[in-house]
């Protein structure tokens, strides 16, 4: 079987296993949507707030489906010795990890689409300014940056029991300063600088432009460059420190 066919096969296998894992399905699919419903209910669904919340949840979904999911997944696969077994077979690493990544990307794409649709159908957010190309570009940029950072993160996690602590230490502060649930225009200077240095704010800014304001990619080159820089860093760390066992 060719490498491409094996990658496709691995992807389909990962999809099947994903849906059999209730906790993975919950964290990847249900959690961002629960956040959306709860926050929209608690803080009211004024258009101004929804214009912040919907792209924020879309960005959160990109991060959970890639960064969080891959950091957990790779740690589990390594600790269980599954990576070591794969390494002893003729399975090309490109096909194996390609299948794993494609699974995460599929989750991210489906989640972003769901959030955009729910924002429109349930909360009446207009699609007048929706820029699908820009949406795809920033989703992809977020997936690459957070996916590679998730794999890099897994190298730092000593064992599966420690994974939630490591992941949340990064994940929770980042979602609170990056304008996921509320506007961060009045954030203290230090936190604002931190948010600008981290990738999530740039994903959300780009997604907001694509979903809400309709300002084109040309106005968000800085955010895109920041994500490219994080991707280069993430891929470098992910490859450089990769451990099979």
């Amino acid at each position: 079987m060719s490498t491409g066919a094996l990658l496709w096969r691995q992807f389909r296998f990962e999809r099947r296993m994903f849906w059999r894992n209730p906790s993975a399905a919950f964290f990847n699919f249900a959690l961002p949507l629960i956040f959306l419903f709860l926050i929209a209910s608690v803080f009211g669904s004024k258009t101004k707030d929804l214009n912040t919340l919907v792209p924020g949840i879309a960005g959160l979904a990109v991060m959970t489906t890639t960064f969080t999911a891959l950091a957990f997944n790779i740690t589990f696969l390594r600790e269980q010795g599954i990576l070591k077994r794969v390494r002893g077979t003729p399975m090309p690493p490109v096909a194996y990890f390609g299948g794993l990544l494609a699974n995460a990307v599929a989750n991210a794409v489906v989640q972003v689409a769901l959030v955009v649709v729910i924002g429109h159908v349930v909360y009446g957010l207009t699609w007048r300014h929706l820029d699908v190309l820009e949406l795809a570009v920033f989703t992809l940029a977020g997936v690459v940056a957070f996916g590679s950072l998730g794999i890099a993160m897994s190298h730092a996690i000593p064992n599966f029991d420690a994974a939630p602590a490591y992941v949340n230490a990064v994940f929770l502060p980042m979602i609170f300063i990056s304008g996921t649930f509320y506007s961060t225009s009045s954030l203290p200077g230090v936190l604002d600088a931190a948010a600008r240095a981290l990738p999530l704010k740039h994903v959300i800014d780009g997604l907001r432009a694509a979903i809400v304001t309709g300002s084109g990619i040309g106005h968000h080159v800085g955010a895109l460059l920041a994500l490219v820089a994080w991707s280069i860093g993430g891929v470098t760390l992910a490859v450089r420190f990769f451990r099979w066992e």
């Binding site: 096969r9 070591k84 077994r85």
Partner: protein
């Protein structure tokens, strides 16, 4: 306990380097290892090991924990890089991580996991797709005796069943050479007999097996030849029966006045004649009289004991 040894006991054969190991001496060798060395920092885990495994042979690698067995096997499997020496597995250097070689080799690691939510059948079928000419997955599941569990998820299998799934995953690619690292650890006696049957079947199919085990009866029963590793060196190798023979051919034991007496000799006929003659003269019986061959376990314990012999 009286423990006598025949005075003409021959010394144990020790190999630093075995005879006939000049370049290309065994063209049909599945595995060839020459002066293999591996250091971790300043610690030398393997300090110059050499052996050959012929095609179609079951070769047992024995030794205490930390002797260097697993390091040696993992170098042959391509998981670790050696520090020195030469290694050839089916004609290739495993350190090159050549995909073609991995198509011809099956590995049962000491511990490795499965996708817990994949069934036995799904796991085996998924693995089969990776190989160019796999065995039939159902037949492979039957070979290791997991038919009744084929629709059970891997995460729900017992320890012994997981080990059999390990074996199925290693065999489904129909490899020429199979590494078995402690394949029956945690098995009950019946499951071990079944697993031994599988290994013998592999031999009938002409496969080569490198077996690492802690069970000396397993090594003795399955292996054509064994090698004993201690402190990173190979201290003995040969067919199990010959290793035993090197020590002393026969052991005669009996009970006299409630005390166990043991003699080791190369000539049991003469010794038995003398012992029984003396007993008859005294008007005694030699209770629990038995003549046995020393087992591989005796040899192993003798060779690997910490006391200087």
């Amino acid at each position: 306990m009286v423990r006598e040894r025949a005075s003409d006991r021959r010394p144990v054969r020790l190999h630093g380097v075995a005879p006939g190991w000049h370049s290309g001496s065994v063209p049909e060798a599945a595995i060839s290892v020459r002066d293999l060395r591996k250091s971790y920092g300043s610690v030398e885990a393997v300090r110059g090991i050499s052996f050959d495994v012929a095609r179609g042979e079951i070769f047992g690698l024995l030794g205490p924990n930390g002797a260097g067995k697993t390091t040696t096997v993992e170098i042959l499997e391509g998981y670790r890089k050696r520090s020195g020496g030469d290694v050839s597995v089916l004609g290739s250097d495993p350190a090159a991580r050549d995909r073609g070689l991995r198509k011809r080799v099956g590995i049962v690691l000491q511990s490795s996991g499965f996708y817990p939510r994949a069934t036995v059948r799904e796991s085996v079928e998924h693995m089969a797709a990776v190989y160019p000419a796999p065995r039939d997955p159902s037949e492979t599941i039957a070979l290791v005796g997991l038919e009744e569990k084929r629709d059970t998820r891997a995460g729900k299998l017992s320890g012994g069943q997981r080990r059999r799934l390990d074996l199925a995953l290693a065999l489904v690619g129909d490899p020429e050479l199979i590494f078995l690292d402690e394949p029956t650890t945690g098995f009950d006696p019946a499951a071990r007999r079944t697993a031994w049957g599988v290994v013998r079947k592999l031999k009938e199919l002409g496969k080569t097996v490198l077996l690492t085990t802690h069970y000396l009866d397993e090594a003795q029963s399955l292996s054509d030849r064994v090698a004993i590793v201690k402190d990173g060196l190979l201290i003995a190798q040969g067919p199990p029966s010959e290793l035993s023979a090197d020590r002393a051919r026969y052991r005669i034991s009996y009970r006299r006045n409630g005390q166990l007496a043991q003699h080791e000799t190369d000539d049991p006929t003469e010794l038995l004649h003398r012992l029984t003659g003396e007993a008859l003269e005294r008007g005694e019986r030699l209770e629990d009289l038995s003549v046995s061959r020393p087992t591989l376990e005796d040899v192993y314990l003798d060779l690997t004991s910490e006391e200087p012999s």
